[in-house]
């Protein structure tokens, strides 16, 4: 037979409901009421259960969280149980916010088949990173005389002091520190041995200075006495990363029904439907196939959201202060610098070749040139330059967040707003391809007054040189490739293919059609002219003046075809 120890402090009405449920099912229940509960409340509570002979009350202790009081309370209740209920084979420790998920008969049958097994999660401290943040082994080697909740400063200060002074204490002989969930189900033999332990006074003295002893006292001592430990809890309980216990609500009903645990903790006290369903007649509960993994997944997902969040998302409750290597933006993207100066109809060609979203100059001075010249883009992002330049980082992260799953590519040039570039350079998601000096090709085709061209060329070259310095900076995490115009044109198809392979990595397409290169007849001459005027175009690379000077040879002015 199984008996229950119920530790109660708040929401006594719910605790009474659960105690009644078990007692009426024929199981003995020993209740420990926290000493902090007022006499009036305790009286009402006892009155509500007075008609149940199976319900007993243990001497009351102060069970402040993290202190030995909770262990004292459990031990006191265990003594009552073992003394008064000779027929009890297993003792199940539960709290007032627990709720049985499966009928008592099923638990009885389960335990009857495993009469010698102790169900207690018990993990050796050194071996497993069991605790999320905070103290592990130090729980056993430092002293904790102060209450964490009420005397936080003293608590933290004393821990620091002990660390600094190298103070350590040793645990008594004969035990090996173990940790685990405080909710267990022990056999009469094991629990009896712990309660009647000849060295109990020494152990209690030691554990009364251990941090959160209710997670280690029984877990450690069970190892000393038990013949067979099944290291898991029959109680379903979940914690978030800061160790705060999750509550279960009405909307968890189906998940809880599919859990294979016998008891769940904590139940939100106002989860009326859960209490009605699980404490109601078992007929109302048709058995469903257990799927305990489902509930694990739900809480694992929450923990992941709490710890890492969604990469690239900036919102009211996620505002990363430092930029990590990953997670500045939501998805990989490409910046192409100078390509549209060098090739005609480059956007259209790339859209077709890469099957991706190709924007114009997103950071153009007058407006954000979205693909298709849309005035507003995904996420209702306006194309207004003022709005974009108000916070360019937000503009880019918003765009990439709103278009997740859809590769974004945009053009850039020396004329564009380059306040964003350091951010892109530090973003591992960015792929940057730069053809320096390509603006000269555009100027060459502009056919303006040479004096104006010269001034413009000087301006663009200065701007581009500053941008190149960013791409060549020491902390660049983006994948950056830089060519000069001349360098790029040595192997244009291979270079374009390389860029495409990065954009569409898993389905590398062979380039069948290259974009149309702008005519470069006379371009060498044009550059020479700039030089002659004292404006050295250093970013274009070396162009052979003599070869296209004649105008007869235009080797790369046609589309390339790769067969």
């Amino acid at each position: 037979m199984v008996g229950f120890i119920l530790l109660c402090h708040t929401h006594l009405d719910r605790a009474a409901q659960v105690a009644r449920h078990w007692a009426e099912g024929g199981a003995p229940v020993v209740i420990h009421l926290d000493a902090r509960v007022s006499e009036a409340e305790a009286g009402t509570f006892r009155g509500a259960l007075a008609d149940l002979p199976k319900v007993r009350f243990a001497p009351r202790h102060r069970g402040e969280w993290g202190t030995f009081g909770l262990v004292s309370a459990t031990l006191a209740a265990a003594e009552v149980m073992l003394r008064d209920e000779r027929g009890v084979g297993h003792v199940f420790l539960a709290s007032g916010t627990c709720l049985p998920l499966r009928p008592l008969a099923e638990l009885r049958a389960y335990l009857a088949e495993r009469q010698d097994t102790d169900f207690i999660e018990s993990v050796a401290v050194g071996d497993t990173p069991w605790i999320v943040g905070g103290l592990a082994m130090e729980r056993f080697t430092l002293r904790f005389p102060f209450a964490w909740r009420r005397q936080r400063a003293l608590f933290d200060g004393y821990v620091r002091l002990q660390r600094r002074l190298g103070m350590r204490r040793h645990w008594p002989d004969g035990i090996v520190p173990h940790l685990g969930s405080q909710w267990w189900c022990l056999t009469r033999a094991t629990l009896g041995a712990i309660v009647d332990e000849p060295r109990r006074a020494a152990f209690d003295r030691y554990f009364s200075r251990v941090w959160i002893p209710d997670e280690s006292y029984f877990q450690t001592l069970a190892r000393r006495h038990s013949t067979r430990i099944d290291s898991r809890s029959l109680t379903l309980s979940k914690f978030d990363l800061h160790g705060r216990p999750h509550s279960f609500y009405d909307d968890h009903l189906q998940l809880l029904r599919r859990s294979d645990c016998f008891v769940a903790r904590k139940i939100w006290p106002r989860a009326e439907r859960l209490y009605q369903t699980f404490l109601g007649p078992p007929a109302a509960l048709p058995r469903s196939e257990p799927q305990p993994a489902k509930i694990d997944r739900l809480f694992a997902k929450a923990a992941e959201r709490q710890a890492y969040g969604r990469p690239g998302l900036v919102m009211q409750s996620r505002f990363p202060a430092r930029d990590g290597d990953i997670g500045r933006t939501a998805a990989p993207y490409s910046l192409l610098h100078g390509f549209d100066d060098l090739f005609e109809g480059f956007d259209a060609w790339l859209t077709k070749a890469a099957g991706a979203r190709v924007h114009g100059h997103l950071f153009a001075p007058d407006r954000a040139d979205f693909a298709g010249s849309e005035p507003v883009f995904n996420g209702a992002l306006p194309s207004s330059a003022a709005f974009r330049d108000y916070n360019p980082r937000a503009f880019l992260t918003n765009l990439l967040w709103a278009t997740r799953g859809d590769r974004q590519i945009f053009q850039f040039g020396p004329d564009d707003q380059d306040r964003i570039l350091p951010f892109i350079a530090g973003d591992a998601q960015a792929q940057v391809s730069v053809i320096s000096g390509a603006w000269a090709v555009r100027l060459f085709h502009l056919g303006a007054e040479f004096a104006d061209v010269r001034a413009e060329a000087a301006r663009l070259q200065r701007a581009e040189a500053a941008q190149l310095a960013i791409w060549r900076g020491p902390d660049v995490k983006a994948r950056v490739r830089i060519w000069t115009v001349a360098g790029f044109l040595e192997h244009p198809v291979e270079n374009l293919q390389g860029i495409l392979d990065e954009i569409v990595p898993r389905a590398p397409r062979r380039l069948t059609e290259a974009p149309r290169l702008r005519s470069l007849a006379g371009f060498g001459q044009f550059l020479q002219e700039l030089k002659n005027q004292g404006m050295q175009p250093v970013l274009t690379g070396d162009f052979p003046v003599d070869r296209d000077g004649g105008g007869s040879e235009r080797p790369r002015a046609r589309p390339y075809l790769v067969r």
Binding site: R305, G309, R310, P311, Q316, A380
Partner: protein, 336 residues
């Protein structure tokens, strides 16, 4: 944070407290239901002016959410708002005599009421056109949320304003009393919000949405703030600073994670752009009470509010809180 800044903020908070006490004298109790007020687990506080049309739905929305008691300040309504509220069984009502603008758009009154009646209690401060959406709000009442926040030691909950608008001109569909405003104003902007951190108050400053997109595309710095901290476990010494955009002590504003994780956050659906909007604009302009906002209201007036269409082809149609979470506008944090 420098000692000097701490000192400045402390001074600022004490000035706000002093103002609240002074301006709070202009509040004249109309109906006090102390018993209901003290028993409520979560309270709601609001300043209203001529909101008779919107209030029935407002009250039913928040009653369903589990708000136990409403604290209303009626600022010189002449459309029956006061009488209507006084007749509600779960409302405590004050009448404010002083000037709305001179009481910092009602915030002095709110600060006064909160500190008098909501010390160490959860209270939601919203306008009559703001509708809170929080994670699991379709299945869990608001005290489930506040219990969860309590368990983690949090004293505040952020919910940014999400401006809702209809498809078509704002004035095209007439809003009827008791109607869910989001049947009409069913769309919102999902991803054009701009955030920056206010180093002094520690809050995030959020701008964007349809108002920034349509009314302020060329002067975004003037676009209205959308960050809000509407749900607070109030302390007597606390104070709201600008509307519910930020509060003091500044710890209340720090509701976001800076290491990459997500914390819990909701949204305030803003039912501003309904058929009543043009009237409200005209009224506010003639009253000229919204000094700080008058620029905003002038921008609306110039744009001909009745003809304005805020909808665009990237507007999202509202479904539920999960949609807002997926879009990255709110988060359930570690709550599951």
């Amino acid at each position: 944070m420098h000692l000097w800044d701490k000192f400045r903020l402390r001074l600022r908070r004490q000035r706000l407290r002093a103002r609240a006490i002074r301006k709070g004298r202009a509040l004249e109790p109309v109906v006090m239901r102390a018993e209901g007020r003290d028993a409520a687990r979560v309270l709601l506080a609001s300043t209203v002016r001529n909101e008779r049309l919107r209030l029935p739905y407002f009250l039913s929305y928040y009653r369903k959410m589990g708000i136990g008691h409403f604290l209303f300040i009626d600022n010189a309504s002449d459309d029956g708002t006061g009488e209507y509220l006084a007749a509600q069984p779960d409302v405590s009502l004050w009448r404010a005599r002083g000037s709305y603008a001179a009481s910092r758009f009602g915030m002095d009154w709110i600060n006064a009421i909160l500190s008098r009646h909501c010390h160490d209690r959860w209270v939601l401060t919203v306008d009559a056109d703001e509708f809170l959406v929080y994670p699991f709000c379709d299945s869990r009442p608001i005290d489930a949320l506040t219990d969860w926040l309590d368990a983690g030691g949090a004293r505040s909950f952020p919910a940014m304003l999400l401006d809702m608008y209809p498809k078509g001109p704002v004035g095209a569909q007439t809003y009827h009393e008791g109607q869910n405003p989001f049947e009409i104003a069913s769309h919102f902007d999902s991803g054009n919000y701009v955030l920056s951190r206010n180093p002094l108050y520690g809050n995030l400053w959020i701008q964007g949405g349809p108002r920034a997109r349509v009314f302020f595309p060329d002067r975004p710095q003037q676009a209205p703030s959308l960050n809000k901290i509407p749900l607070v476990k109030w302390l007597r010494r606390g104070a709201y600073v600008h509307s519910t955009h930020m509060a003091l002590p500044r710890k209340l504003n720090m509701t976001y994670d800076t290491t990459g994780g997500e914390r819990i956050a909701g949204c305030l659906l803003h039912a501003k752009f309904l058929s009543i909007f043009p009237e409200k604009v005209a009224e506010e302009l003639t009253r000229a009470e919204h000094f700080a906002d008058s620029q905003e209201y002038r921008a609306y007036a110039e744009a001909h509010p009745e003809r304005t269409d805020l909808w665009c082809r990237w507007s999202e149609s509202y479904l539920n809180w999960r949609q807002l979470e997926i879009l990255g506008l709110m988060s359930s944090g570690s709550w599951a």
